[in-house]
Every structure is written in structure tokens, then in C-alpha cells.
């Protein structure tokens, strides 16, 4: 076994296929520094939990400190060869229009035109937060795939590929590590936004995930089995079937009525309603105040709306977006069918970024004919309601520091930037932006489904590495405020997945308990400011 001198910085692309130990061993010292109160790593940075011996025994874990995909170790050389062969077959399929019409053009252009200028590296929060670990450079992963493509799939590739793109060996290590490495990217596409050529390393990470899922059937359990498959089987990735979801919403209506002093009743299956509202069903279980606040606002504004109790019609989640085109399309169709059945005028998405993107713009080139029902974000709807004067609002009820997180899928990838800001400017007098923000935002660190992954020690990686840049931004946004828990501070995150990440990271670093940093959605802030509602809506749910 040949070891690499300094794993973090000296790693070369060719090292990826070497029969070495782990390619990267991050320590707390390597990580990008954070501002106060997390500036002293010795005090504030929890130790890395090591991977258990049984995990190392069972799964391929030669990439870095953590593990997500859980690829069992092959039992024989023959099995390894079988997987290598399947990998190459899958790679070939990525370049055919029949199997990959969905992304052939952007994918091929990225594979063939990168100038290796590394502009993308400066834009990637994972690379930066890791202390510039070579393994996490946006181009590192792409470069491995590119070299394999040019060497093994292009005619004359064994000579020209090497000359034009550099060398790589394709063996079992390469395959297993590449599969795992495709899950060290948030698919936030900040790198693609910065690329002067227009290449997209985020897309490549997704295409690698997709190759493994669609050809070898390898995906994380959280995304596939417990996610998309469970959603298609039961109706929701949370495991709630239609009866359970209706029961839960009844409880939420009751609580909402108590807390607000209004009589809140969520409408179900209203034929011909103007709007079918689809929440990420995770909200109903983890953040019931969010669907409650939607109900309060829509009811108070006199909107014609409904929820659907059709399987999938009450859960906007679509994890296929992160790893698999077939699963993505299956879920999209079910969502459209639920809306068609009710004959609604349009579908509106609650506060869930990836659901916005999956069903609004991605599904836009999947749904045709009578399934192509208008689909919109809830942000402009909420803006229009707030600006219309239909709700009586008292901004002084939100007199605490508020900052806004921009979910990548909704903002950078859909251009929905201003509506939520217009609302905040009207109802949150102490609103301040993060730097950078809007379409230039950083991912929360839970993007691409990471927020629902906590197996082995992945939480450490998700908090310390992928969530680090966002944490820095948040602490900087609240700089100058009393940092004790006495002063209530609010991160407004209009996205379920991002909220999952904030919940975990605030707890990991003790920032709610010690520093009074809380998080929640946009609708909660609106209801908190409504004068027809008893004061203290947000605090009441937190208690």
C-alpha cells in the first residue's frame, strides 16, 4: 500500500485509483475558522466520531472520514470486475440520447470543455470549509470521470486521452470511491454559476449518482428505500399514509386554533379549488407550525385552496432530483395526477426548495398534455397577500434580529429572490442580509438530501464541512447583536431541507441554547406579525 504524503493538499487525480488507505483524513485543525462564538476550535469544535470497526469491515470506506453510501465489500475479484463492467456500461449510457436525453447536452459540454482553471473551487463552500482539501475540489470528482471517459470510452483514448486529459486507472477502488465521492457535493451549483466556460461540476456529481443508481441500483437508503420508494408505496417519504396525514393535520388545526385564537380548518380535497397546496410532509411531523401558519394566512386572506389526501398529493418531496431520473419522473407524474384529479387551477408549493425545483422547472420538461398544470412557488402568493393589505400586520411583533437564508433550489436555480425579501422588509424591522446572498448565496450544507442523512458519523461531516460556510454567514449576520441567549435571533429559512440542517447544526454547536439563535420559515414570521392572532405565535410553538 502506497501512502500519499500530505493527503489533504498533495492528493493527485491519479492517486484516486491507488491501493492506498483513505485519501483524506480531515481534522478540526484543517477546517476553515469560524467567527465568534465558535472561533476557538479547541472549545467549540466537537471531536470527530471515528467510523466504527464493523462499518470499516463491512463497507468500502477508503475515501475520507465518513460514509454515506454503504457499498458492501465485494467478496471476490470476479465481483469487482462485474461492478467495473457495469460502471463502464452505465457511463456509456450517460452519453446516449436515448438513456440520457435529459442532461446529455450540459453533461457532454462539461466533460469536453473544462479548461481546468479552478475558478469553481473558489466558489465551493465544501472545498473552502474543508481547508481546501483536494479531494473536495469541485473539479477533482469531475476530472476522474473525465479521464475515465476519454481513456476508456473514446477511440484511441489510451494514447490521446492521456495526452489531452491526463491518466487514470479504472479499478475497483476507483469505482467504489467515485460512487462515495458523488455524495460529497450539495448539488448547489454555485461552482457552475462561477464557471467562465459554463461547465457544471454539480451536474456531474448528480450524473455519477445517477449512473450508480440507474445502472447498479446503488443509492443511499435514505434517498431511495426510505425516500422515493416509500413515498411511492405509502404516499409519503415520512411513512404517513393518507389517513395518518389527515389525523396529524387535524391536531395541527386544533393547536393552531388554540395558539392563534382563530378557528383554523384545513380544507381537504376541495374539487375545483384555485390552489392545491403541497407541503413537504416533513413539515407536518417536524415543524407543524409551518403548515399551521399557511392555513392561518390562506384562511385569513380568503384564498380558495385545498390539500389533497391522494397518495403523494400531500408530500411534495421528490428525492429523485438528487440521484435518479426514473424516480424523479415517477413522483412528478403522481403529483400532477393528484392535481388533475381535483381539477385545481394550479399547484402551489409550501416552503420546500427542492420540491419547488423538482415540480416547477424540472417537471416542466416531463409533464405534457393535461398533466401540464400550472405550478408555482408560494413566495409570490405570500408577497401578494402581505402587500394586498388583506392581513392586519404589526411589524413590531417581530422586533428581533432576522436574517434570510436563500435555498439554492428556489433562488439560484429558479430566480425566486425578491418576493420573500419584500415580505421581510414589511414585517421584520430588524431584517438584515447575509453576505453573499440572493443568487450568490451559499448552500445550508444539507442540500442534495444530506439533511436527511445521519448514518455512521456523517453528522460530523455535515456540520463541520458542508454546513460550515453557512454557519459563518449566520454568525456574521448577527455580529454586533447581543450574542447571549437573552436576545432572540431568527434565521428565516423558507425550505424544509434547510431547516433540517439548521436544526442539527444549531444543536451541534449549542447555538440556540447558548446564543439564542433560532430558525423557522417565512409564514411563521407573517403570522407572528398578524394582529388578528394572539401575540407570540412563534414562541408558542417552540414551547
Amino acid at each position: 500500500m502506497k501512502e500519499i504524503d500530505n493527503k489533504n493538499t498533495d492528493l493527485k487525480v491519479e492517486d484516486f485509483s491507488k491501493d492506498s488507505d483513505r485519501l483524506l483524513e480531515l481534522t478540526n485543525d484543517d477546517l476553515m475558522p469560524l467567527p465568534e462564538p465558535l472561533d476557538d476550535k479547541a472549545k467549540s469544535e466537537p471531536p470527530w466520531k471515528p467510523l466504527s470497526d464493523s462499518a470499516k469491515e463491512k463497507y468500502e470506506s477508503d475515501l475520507d472520514n465518513t460514509l454515506l453510501l454503504n457499498i458492501p465489500k465485494p467478496k471476490s475479484k470476479e465481483e469487482e470486475k462485474k461492478y467495473i463492467k457495469q460502471f463502464l456500461q452505465g457511463l456509456e449510457k450517460l452519453f446516449t440520447k436515448e438513456n440520457n436525453w435529459v442532461f446529455l447536452q450540459p453533461f457532454k459540454l462539461t466533460m469536453e470543455h473544462c479548461t481546468k482553471c479552478h475558478t469553481c473551487s473558489e466558489a465551493c463552500h465544501i472545498f473552502q470549509a474543508s481547508g481546501r482539501a483536494e479531494l473536495y475540489r469541485p473539479t477533482y470528482r469531475t476530472e476522474i470521470l473525465r479521464r475515465i471517459y476519454f481513456k476508456y470510452l473514446k477511440p484511441g483514448g489510451r494514447f490521446f486521452g492521456r495526452w489531452q486529459h491526463g491518466d487514470i486507472d479504472l479499478n475497483w477502488k476507483t469505482v467504489a470511491r467515485l460512487a462515495e465521492l458523488s455524495y460529497r457535493c450539495n448539488l448547489c451549483r454555485r461552482c457552475a454559476q462561477a464557471c467562465p466556460i459554463g461547465c457544471d461540476n454539480g451536474l456531474v456529481a448528480r450524473e455519477i449518482r445517477k449512473l450508480f443508481s440507474q445502472e447498479l441500483g446503488w443509492a443511499t437508503k435514505e434517498l431511495h428505500e426510505k425516500g422515493s420508494m416509500q413515498q411511492l408505496r405509502v404516499g409519503s417519504s415520512t411513512g404517513m399514509n393518507p389517513e395518518v396525514v389527515k389525523d396529524n393535520m387535524d391536531f395541527i388545526d386544533e393547536d393552531a386554533s388554540d395558539i392563534t385564537g382563530m378557528d383554523i380548518k384545513t380544507p381537504w380535497d376541495v374539487q375545483g379549488a384555485d390552489i392545491l397546496l403541497i407541503h413537504n410532509a416533513g413539515e407536518i411531523l417536524s415543524w407543524p407550525e409551518n403548515p399551521a401558519a399557511f392555513a392561518v394566512i390562506l384562511q385569513a386572506a380568503g384564498i380558495s385552496w385545498t390539500l389533497s389526501s391522494e397518495a403523494l398529493g400531500y408530500d411534495s418531496v421528490n428525492y429523485g432530483l438528487f440521484y435518479d431520473d426514473a424516480m424523479l419522473a415517477k413522483v412528478v407524474i403522481k403529483h400532477a395526477l393528484a392535481a388533475k384529479k381535483l381539477g385545481v387551477k394550479k399547484i402551489v408549493f409550501g416552503e420546500c426548495g427542492h420540491a419547488h425545483k423538482a415540480l416547477t422547472i424540472i417537471a416542466d420538461r416531463i409533464l405534457t398534455g393535461d398533466l401540464n398544470i400550472p405550478r408555482e412557488s408560494s413566495m409570490p402568493l405570500l408577497r401578494d397577500i402581505v402587500m394586498s393589505g388583506k392581513l392586519k400586520l404589526d411589524p413590531s411583533r417581530n422586533d428581533f434580529p432576522v436574517t434570510l437564508h436563500d435555498p439554492c433550489n428556489m433562488v439560484r436555480m429558479m430566480g425566486i429572490v425578491e418576493p420573500q425579501r419584500e415580505v421581510l422588509r414589511k414585517i421584520a424591522p430588524r431584517f438584515r442580509e447575509m453576505t453573499p446572498h440572493g443568487v450568490n448565496n451559499y448552500c445550508c450544507g444539507g442540500g442534495s438530501g444530506f439533511a436527511i442523512h445521519s448514518g455512521h458519523n456523517f453528522v460530523d461531516w455535515r456540520m463541520k464541512v458542508s454546513g460550515r460556510m453557512k454557519m459563518k454567514q449566520i454568525l456574521e449576520a448577527f455580529k454586533g447583536e447581543d450574542s447571549s441567549s437573552e436576545t432572540y435571533k431568527y434565521i428565516c429559512a423558507p425550505c424544509s431541507n434547510c431547516k433540517g440542517q439548521f436544526r442539527d447544526i444549531l444543536e451541534y454547536y449549542g447555538l440556540t441554547e447558548n446564543n439564542g439563535i433560532h430558525y423557522g420559515g417565512l409564514v411563521e414570521l407573517i403570522v407572528n406579525a398578524m394582529t388578528d392572532v394572539k401575540p407570540g405565535f412563534i414562541r408558542a410553538w417552540e414551547q
Binding site: 438513456n99 446529455l104 470543455h113 481546468k116 426514473a326 424540472i362 409570490p380
Partner: protein, 300 residues
Amino acid sequence: MIEPLHVLTLSCIVIFITAVLVRFIRTARMPVHLRWEIYPVAHDKGFEHGGSYMENQDWRNRPQEHSQLNKLKEFLTEFLFLKALFHHNRKLWWSSFPFHFGLYIIAAFAGLLVITALSSVFNVKHGGVFLSYLVQFTGIAGAILCLFGSAGLFFRRLFDKGLKKYSPISAYFNLLLFVGISVLMLTVGFSSSGFGPMSAYIVSFLTWSAHPEMPGPSKALLILSLLVLAYIPLTHMSHFFMKWFTWDKIRWDDEPNLPGSKLEKRIQAALAYPVSWSAPHIKGDGKKSWVDVATEEIEK
């Protein structure tokens, strides 16, 4: 008698045009892809803050306000001044910008040489002196910028640890080609005969007649430039025109699929493609279409 240099010139021009066309047409004929835009989208009304038409309710029923002018402006600033690199990687921009801008000036220089040759062929008397000054100026200026840029990029790739690891042999070779062209251009430009022999050669090529003897550096410059011209579109350097796809057809492609539109028909055609992905949840047999895959129930 057929001049070997003429044959080389013609071949390189034909290879260049064919390679550009093949790449361009192949890419343009790829099937429609899923929407994959990144904001800001240049033609959108909300460009300044990165906003889209989806910032409004019922956008399907509103007239779309597109600014083709802004799109052109953004594309030109990107193409000419490498705006993205300027904003996101200033260190590299200091070499990359002069390199690219130098090449554009060299392209203008080549165009001016052809115009000079044409005026000689057609015996146009006016503006000859001005034109020759312009040729001289663009030739020297383009070469200086290109030399500065290509040498800068070469040394960056050689000494920057991060860049070096990702730079294959061809990256250095390509940059040295441009260093070579620039040095030759400067040698020719500052020689006593200047770019005159090049212009005379173009006249001979256009009239397919014997060309006068050329000084060594001019001949070397001509041959090297022609070979590089043919070589560029065969490599990733074709990004100079393929960028139009990555920007206009991907990053800025926010065209909605409206019922009954042409786009809808293209999508329907793509959905009918046969699938052969092998994973158990797809079991593509090369006959099932994407519609079949998307609509078949999973095994419960």
C-alpha cells in the same frame, strides 16, 4: 503549378470550418434537455437581482418581458472581457484576459490582412496607408497581449500547485503554440519588411498564383498559425464558440413548456426514447420508453 503552401492553407481552413460546423451542429441537434438554468438569466426582467418570471403569480398568463439587448450585452462582456473570470478568479484573469483579447485582436489582424490583399487584387487605391498602419498596429498589439497572456498562463500552470495537478501535457503544449505564434508575429512585425510578405502571400492564395519567396519568420508564422487554426476546434479550445451553448442554451434557457408549444412536441419525442438502464427499479430492456418507466407502478 500547385503550391504546397496553398494546399496547406486550404486544408487548414477546410478542417477548421468543418470541425466547427460538425461540433456545432452535433450539439445543436442533441435532444431537448431538462431545464437547468442558473440565475441571473440575462434576458429576464429581474436580471439585476437575479430574478425570474416565476417571481410572479400566474406568470403563464402574463406577457413575458425579455430583453434580447441585455442578453447580447452580457454575452459580449463575457466573451470579450471574461466577466465571470474577472469576478470569480481575478488572479487568473490577469493572464487569461490578455491572452484571449490578444487572440481577438490577432483575428482582427488576420481579417485586415485579407482586406489588404483583396484591395490589392481589386486594385483599390484608397486607404492603403491607413490599412497598413492598422495591420501593423493590430499585429503588434495582438502579439504582445497574446504573448503576455499565454506565457503568464504557462507559468501559472507550471508553478501553481493546484493548477499543475490538473494540467495535462496538452495544456502546456497548447500554450506554447500561442507563445510561438506571438514571438514569430513580433519578429515579423518588427522586421524591415513587416507583414508585407504575408499580405503578398494572401494575394497569391486568393488568385491561386505562385507566391513570392517569403522570409523565414513569415513563412514559419504562416505555417504555425494555419496548423493551430485547424487544431483549435478539435480540442477543448473550441469553447470559444461552444460557450454559446453552455450560456445561452443551458444557463439562460428558461423557456417554459406551454401547452401546444413546439417545445412540448420535442419533449414528447424525447419521452418516447427507449430506455436500457439496468437497475432493478427500472429494468430497461431497450423497448420500454421513458413514459413507460415514469408511469409504471413500483413493486409494492
